[in-house]
């Protein structure tokens, strides 16, 4: 058996399993060994589900022998700990849900399991997905495999670190303002956030329901396409799921970039973007151009307003969504309450961390009597302007390309004390959430040994185009194959 199973992508592993080069049990054991060896230092996992993984791998091998298999049969992956899993803890990175075991599986979990995937564990994340550095997790920060002093980004930081360190070939994630794409950029992985409504949110713990969308972190666009094909599709259990046909994403990867109109946003290259990151992104744009893509300047005049808009809309929705945590039905409950009011206030005060409390309070403030029009209504109007900017841009281009994040990975502790600096990490990614657009990040180089991401945004339902664009770029650049030294 080959000793480098961990280095292979999902697509490569699927071939090996099919050929009988190794079994799912062997593959699963190899990865569980790596998790045991490395996660002490990375802290990418909240829960490792070794026994369940072994059992699932055994079932997958038996199914293969019987000739009855799904497209992911025997392939290992990990779930962000925001997805509800029956009989396994779902903490959402919070003390509030430290002991929570969901009575049901999220649709994403169910669909991947039905396709034969083997789940190795649940990954660490910013508490309730509120953060861009993984430092708000109750279970401690995740370390970046490229430099242990650096953050892997967030909120899907555990998923990104696990995939970058080759502890798992793929991970699920969620993206409300950049939480898949920014950690993918900061860890040299591929991150895909689909169109709003593309993947079911059922069983995915809600943060901001008009922005949340499930997606994946992988080591190639090919793998992202494979997983999206399984995860996407209508689900009547999610009232915001949209009934839109699911194309063959893998088939969409081939085809040339000739004539593809790629929009480059002028404002993306203003001050605020690290110069070396800018250079890496410009080089990647030149690669697309060399393949026949046509680069066109586009304008997103309201880009600067996207972060403040987000920090009204997202906290408003979060304050409403997180009102369900009352210390009564599930979650943390304070000891010896004086009365019901005290039970609510102390259960929530103790169960939530500082950033979550700030977001709830920001949301409560902007929705409170006398402030609603000035903040919430205004933000939804500006959100319309931002969406209109994208509509205008997509009249002339097929894809918008630029940087995923203004800087490479930053040091743990560097930004956590200044919420605004932290929030501005998501300046290039937030617009796609506000407008419901699909977006992805693929590795496009290094700055001082740290990965840089190329961000691609498509129009609604444009996943095929951005995947094709990223896949072509990966074939020519190979940045996505770079592996952190300590994890080869």
């Amino acid at each position: 058996m080959s000793q480098d199973l961990h280095a292979q992508t999902l697509t490569q592993l699927a071939v090996g399993l099919e050929r009988g080069d190794f079994s799912s049990v062997e593959l699963t054991e190899a990865l569980l060994d790596r998790v045991a060896a490395h996660d002490q230092s990375l802290n990418a996992f909240v829960t490792v589900t070794a026994d369940a993984a072994r059992a699932a791998a055994k079932r997958a091998d038996a199914a293969r022998a019987a000739g009855d298999i799904g497209v992911l049969n025997g392939l290992p992956l990990v779930h962000k700990d925001i997805f509800c899993t029956k009989s396994v803890l779902t903490t959402c990175g919070s003390r509030m849900l430290e002991n929570f075991v969901s009575p049901y599986d999220a649709t994403v979990v169910e669909r991947l399991a039905n396709a034969g995937a083997v789940v190795l564990g649940k990954t660490n994340m910013d508490e309730f997905a509120m953060g861009s550095s993984n430092e708000t997790s109750y279970f401690g920060p995740v370390r970046n495999p490229w430099n242990p002093d650096c953050s892997p980004g967030g909120s899907s930081g555990g998923s990104a670190a696990a995939v970058a360190a080759r502890l798992a070939p793929a991970a699920t994630g969620t993206d409300t303002g950049g939480s898949i794409r920014q950690p993918a950029a900061l860890t040299g992985t591929v991150g895909l956030k689909p169109t709003y409504g593309r993947v079911s949110r059922y069983g995915m713990i809600a943060f901001a329901s008009s922005l949340d969308q499930a997606g994946v972190i992988t080591r190639s666009s090919e793998d992202a396409a494979l997983l999206l094909g399984v995860m996407a599709g209508f689900d009547e259990r999610d009232s915001t799921s949209i009934d839109h046909p699911v194309p063959d994403y893998t088939a969409a990867l081939s085809g040339s970039l000739k004539g593809l109109r790629v929009g480059v946003v002028r404002q993306h290259f203003d001050e605020g973007l690290d110069e070396q990151c800018a250079a890496a992104v410009r080089e990647s744009l030149a690669v697309l151009e060399s393949q026949g893509a046509i680069l066109t300047d586009v304008d997103l005049p309201n880009l600067d307003l996207s972060v403040p808009t987000y920090y009204v809309v997202a906290p408003a929705e979060c304050s409403s969504n997180l009102s369900r945590f009352d210390g009564v039905r599930y979650g943390h409950r304070a000891k010896d309450p004086d009365d019901l009011f005290d039970l609510y206030c102390r259960s929530r005060g103790e169960g939530f961390g500082a950033e979550v409390k700030r977001r709830i309070m920001t949301g409560t403030y902007v929705l409170s009597a006398g402030y609603y029009d000035a903040y919430y209504l205004k933000a939804q109007q500006v959100r319309q302007l931002i969406a209109e900017d994208f509509r205008t841009a997509f009249a002339d281009v097929d894809v918008i390309a630029g940087p995923t994040s203004p800087t490479p990975a930053f040091k743990l502790g560097d930004k956590i004390d200044d919420p605004i600096t932290m929030y501005l990490n998501d300046i290039y990614t937030i617009g796609a959430n506000l407008a419901g657009l699909p977006g992805m990040s693929t590795p496009c180089g290094f700055v001082d040994g740290l990965p840089v991401g190329l961000h691609l945004v498509g129009p609604h339902w444009g996943e095929e185009t951005i995947l094709r664009c990223a896949h072509h770029y990966e074939q020519l650049s190979n940045w996505h194959q770079a592996c952190p030294e300590d994890y080869e």
Partner: protein
Amino acid sequence: MSLDKDQVQRIAVLARLRLADDEFGETVDKLSRIVDFVDQLGQAATDNVVPMAHPLDEAQRLRVDEVTESDSRDAIQENAPLVENGLYLVPKVIE
């Protein structure tokens, strides 16, 4: 500071959050910075702009009002901190 300690205390009560004494200073400071930051929205020209209701202009889907779930009270209450005879226990609310 755009917010003072009393305002933050009122917001905390509305949000049903007890802040520890040593959390207050930092919360006032950081919430003020967040409010100052989002205040720049006030500059945007939004006359006659329809507020966004859905990013893809979809309407809320309706479904037939019929029972689709079976009783799973016991499974759901496994997570409850305090239950008795299938009921959630809370401090006395009526004297």
